[in-house]
């Protein structure tokens, strides 16, 4: 379940999206905790999501690469997104590697190699899509390695740091 905060036209919505699968075209999304029914096309490789129905209402959508805006048949809406998961992401495998949840830029690093850290302690800030995503320690231990520098651009899933329990 990805959890996002979406702000548009002065209102903020918390949207929870289930793991998407290519062959599942109807599923439930939570908006501020309330379920809404969504259908999407089964998409072939060449197409981005350009049409969906939400509670039976069809929307033809378009957006720019950076998700600065969403347009529908009714108009254009500047949007702001915050990935609520990205702030507190921890590896599900339980290991100490901290990976980039999205591509972005390393805005700051709060720890040094050899430094002891507590679980949940901020390690670094990854700037992506106009958001500052604080990445925290997945477990208590020592910073064994830091693979990035401030100002560096990183790919998604790139290992940024490792914590040794």
């Amino acid at each position: 379940m990805a959890k996002l905060s979406v702000t548009l036209e002065g209102r903020s919505y918390t949207v929870e999206v289930p793991p998407l699968q290519a062959d599942v075209t109807a599923f439930t999304v939570l908006v501020d905790g309330q379920p809404v029914q969504v259908t999407v096309d089964r998409l072939d490789g060449a197409q981005a999501l350009d049409f969906l129905t939400v509670d039976g209402r069809p929307y033809r959508i378009d957006s720019d690469r950076d998700l600065r805006w969403i347009s529908t048949q009714r108009g254009l809406h500047p949007v702001e997104l915050r990935d609520l998961e990205a702030i507190t992401t921890r590896p599900a495998t339980g290991d100490g590697r901290v990976k980039a949840p999205i591509p972005g830029l390393i805005a700051s690093i709060a720890v040094a190699v050899g430094q002891p850290v507590e679980v949940g302690q901020p390690l670094l800030i990854l700037e992506a899509m106009k958001m500052q995503n604080e990445l925290r320690a997945p477990l208590s231990g020592t910073v064994r390695s830091l693979h990035v520098e401030v100002g560096q651009v990183v790919a998604r899933a790139q290992v940024l740091a490792e914590i040794e329990a």
Partner: protein
Amino acid sequence: MFKKMLIANRGEIAVRVIQTCREMGIATAALYAPQEARSLHVAYADEAIPFSGSFSDPAAILAAAQACGADAIHPGYGFLAEESDFIRVCTAAGIAFIGPSADLLDRVHDKVETLAFVRANGFRTVESLRPAFDEDAESIAESAAQLGYPVVVKSCYGGRGPGERLARDPERLREAVRSALAESRAVFGKEAIYLEKAILPANQVGVQILADRHGNLIHLGDREGSLQHNNGKLIEEAPAPCLSPEGRAELLDSALALARLLGLENAATLEFLIDDAGRFYFTEVKARIQTEHALTEMITGVDLVREQIRIAAGDPLSLRQAEVRFRGHAVMCRIHAQDPLNRMRSSPGQLQEVRLPVGAGLRVDTYVQSGCNVPGTYASLVAKLTAWGGSREQAVARLGRALEDLTLTGVPTNIPFLQSLLRDEAFAVGRYSIETGYRHHADIPEDDAYLQAVAVAAALLYAGRGQPAGAVVPDRLQSGWHRSSRRLPQ
């Protein structure tokens, strides 16, 4: 009739001319730059000629026409459409020019002289003055004071909007003159401006004229072009809602008389300002096809490009004034590749998907198709969408519906801005002037379900980002890396 027409233009007007030529059985030759290889005028012409020259270069166009064996040239509404010298070299080369004679263009070329001539013949015109020396700030300020503020600074040549500037005081005047001169130089290669006494508020109305070489001259009604943004027309309509039936009859009669006085030929538009008392003032003549001609075609059923070609071939008009029947109402909007979130700056690039609206009473004029480039080197107009309806209300409703159905992805467009304008009260009731301000009409913000759905769309787009194109399954969601199943809601 002609055998082969060179289309000395690009974009939607080139496509427009090619359509009629093909329907008349005239072969067509299109010119294109490499980045325009996927533009529709290339696809639709019988012959597509790579062209590295400028559409404003008479020698390059003539050479292209001769190389492909064209016996006629249609200039669209570009620079060459009003260049009498170009017509003369075409004529000398035995190639017909689709438009008026060189002599007519010479007669109406200087707008200030034309205004004076028209005024001298008893027609009401805007008051205008040409400063003694174009670049002499002193004399310009004197002229403005003489006319009385506010004044409009205009280029003596050409007919496009960008050359127009409103000045309410001497300070703004200096600015307006400076930028008008710069633009006049850039667009027309000459520095020449004049001043018009501004009429405020006013509506801008054009009357479509057709005249053949056999003395037949008719009008095809009026068009309203007052809804402008940065001096560019955005939404136009026909007939003009600002005219009363009596006002219209008087205006059209006057336009016919003026057309005769000026000896207009082929297709031309006489432009007027209408003040708030309904008085009309002649401003200028556009002796060529206009961008918004589709409006007139929709309410009259007359193919203006066909008439242009017939007239240039020496044929008589295909109908008389009494046979012109007006039906219903048409509204057109101009769709530009402009970024509404970035001050309407032009946004060239490659279009991804182009999906056109379908159904009754619609007309799309465009050069774009899926995968086509919108070049940064030309104006940002990518399409004109025109809707017809039995009434103005129906035409506007249809245009709104069609704008919703039109999809252009890959480059930002002004469609959201146009949708906002259509929702404006002043436009909805048809009471607007060139001075009307339009506020941004948010998109039905009271509908929370709608905003929620847009939020869902944003979340899904985010969740699908960075995926192999088309898959909606981010691997970070599948891998289970960034979340703990224990922390899932529920």
